[in-house]
Symmetry: C2
Subunit: 369 residues, 2 copies
């Protein structure tokens, strides 16, 4: 992989697994929540293909946790998200858009309810801890907020179920999607959720005991040989095909949840109190002026390092391509774009400029698969 | 420079100057506030030497601004920092530790007072915008908070004064340290402060008009030829020698301002209201149990990718080395370490392990120069 080297430091933290993945052939990093996140192990195409058929272990320690504990914990967590958590259950994960006072997105974490008064917000790439701290002190909530020492290992792919059964026993196969429970590994309890940032199935181990996590890491690769296990990481191709959105790439604090297709997580009819509720009601009433859509482009490759303007055939701006990759499955480039009204519907087309060439972009629905 | 490549994306943003610095020979990046920040142009030693004698232009667009505007802007800004801003003046920059409810650090920005009701918080590497938003909504403050489109160019080094005079006229030399004013470049006004993340003198241009900024960038290199101008970036050696602290490296949200030597910016005797004031009074009364100190190590090189434990000769932990580099000036490795009482005084020594070797670390005062 070409590119400029990243300088490691205490500020751009390594994970407990960094030395292992470097021995195993990681070829590129990104930075996520002030940590190194592996971005490739050789070819993205090969990794994507392997992920769809086998099992991979991912060092996703960069998915940090914000722990909120105390009498007002549930009130604070609910205040941050437009998803109604009033019927939430201990032992379940909830995908929740976090919303600011303008009705715009702050993050899209998975929230784990550990107890009525104890929650983990498993964050995408923004410092939710300071949002929570600001809200808590401003509202004089009785809570403690901190980043616990948790480094997630994801086990992803169709063979992850058989692999995890061999290590944790048959009970792990009974976990429902987005359920979590504690499982024993050589005398150490690990919180394990049936979740992960792919649509290929799998688990995330929320490792609190680092030494046990390292031992587990090695054991996964040992036991995983018969399942053709490989190291991996969130795969750009797989996540775009599956329509898994990425905060910072596909949307950010300038976008609202309706523009991003999060409608089913925006529970305006509920009686719960959350930030930006009035704004979201207003936005819903007016209707959105743009929307995240899929796009297809007849190209054999693309290297998108920043967003790219999409214009109509008269040169007017109609949208912005935010993520893209070549998909071997579709044999073309696919991407995620914020498209303005009235262009944000299937079969509209637009034009992007790449190295001086005008290339046609076709709008389609998300997810691709 | 060896290392693993960083993957660029919309989430890990390029700056308007990225294509220029890549043509000019940037050799490594770090990521700072979700943006690429150049980390090296070849040898750090050569760049440090050049910076001390000449002038450099730095792409520090990653120093993002949080704009706070509105009736309660001053109240909110003051709430976030333990530095008394009641006598602050328009047209001045203020280095301000930001503090949470526990008395711990959130960031150490330079705050610019643009008007009584309009401020820019020029941030180090954490999402202060969400802290501000949380506090504002929790306290029902009448403010707007957003990230304006500002990409800073720093002009640093002893010859920066003559260079900037050639472009902006004699008046720019009258700017006092940490003062700012607006200066004309070909009909476009730019906010320019006498500031920058080195101790070699210089300016920061807060570029709001990107096209004019790009033209200025090129003009600086054209006019700068006679001053032996080079592209550069915050230099690890120069900043450690000068004792310029780095949020995330030398301190973070687990440290308080007294531990970091920010005493003169902790104005507990003032009547202003800020977060964590009671906690800081308590901490001051008890005295700190550890402190950031300089360290000197008899080595010809070091590559610190994470913090390193410092032990006494009986193997007990006495501190943590957080930043380090080889200093050609001192002809040894120097660093910044958090050292526990009673070891945090000059001439104490400790031991670090590097590749199986025990190496003596001598504690000293900061800054080194």
């Amino acid at each position: 992989m070409k590119g400029f080297p990243i300088v490691k430091s205490r500020r751009v933290r390594s994970s407990p697994y960094t030395s292992r993945i470097e021995k195993q052939g990681v070829t590129a990093y990104t930075v996520y929540n002030h940590m190194l996140l592996p971005a490739a192990f050789g070819s993205l195409e090969d990794s994507c293909d392997h992920l769809k058929k086998n099992v991979q272990v991912w060092d996703v320690a960069a998915e940090r946790q914000v722990e909120i504990i105390g009498k007002d914990a549930a009130t604070l967590v609910q205040l941050m998200t437009c998803r109604d958590l009033s019927k939430s259950k201990i032992g379940r994960c909830y995908y929740c858009p976090l919303i600011d006072e303008n009705g715009n997105l702050v993050n899209d974490p998975v929230i784990l309810k550990l107890a009525e008064d104890r929650w983990w917000i498993s964050i995408a790439d923004s410092d939710v801890i300071f949002f929570a701290k600001g809200l808590a002190t401003g509202n004089k909530f009785d809570v403690k907020i901190f980043e616990p020492r948790v480094d997630i290992l994801a086990i992803q792919g169709p063979k992850s179920f058989d692999l995890m059964e061999k290590i944790f026993g048959q009970k792990i196969k009974e976990l429902k999607f987005f359920g979590f429970d504690y499982f024993d590994f050589k005398g150490v309890k690990h919180l394990i959720a049936r979740s992960g940032w792919s649509k290929q199935g799998g688990f995330e181990v929320y490792v609190e005991n680092t030494n046990s996590g390292l031992e587990l890491y090695d054991q996964l690769f040992e036991v995983g040989k018969e399942f053709n296990i490989k190291p991996g990481c969130p795969n750009l191709i797989e996540r775009i095909e599956s329509g898994l959105l990425s905060y910072g790439n596909d949307f950010d604090n300038n976008d609202n949840p309706f523009e991003c297709g999060f409608d089913k997580y925006v529970n305006l009819e509920s009686s719960v109190v959350f930030l930006g509720k009035d704004k979201l009601i207003e936005i819903q009433k007016k209707g959105v002026k743009r929307k995240l859509m899929g796009v297809q482009i007849d190209l054999n490759q693309i290297s998108l390092t920043k967003s790219l303007e999409i214009k109509d055939n008269k040169g007017s701006l109609i949208g912005e391509l935010r993520s893209a990759c070549f998909s071997p499955h579709f044999k073309k480039v696919i991407g995620i774009a914020m498209i303005k009204e009235p262009y944000c519907k299937v079969s509209t087309s637009g034009i992007i400029e790449i190295e001086g060439n005008s290339i046609v972009v076709k709008v389609c629905d998300l997810p691709f698969i």
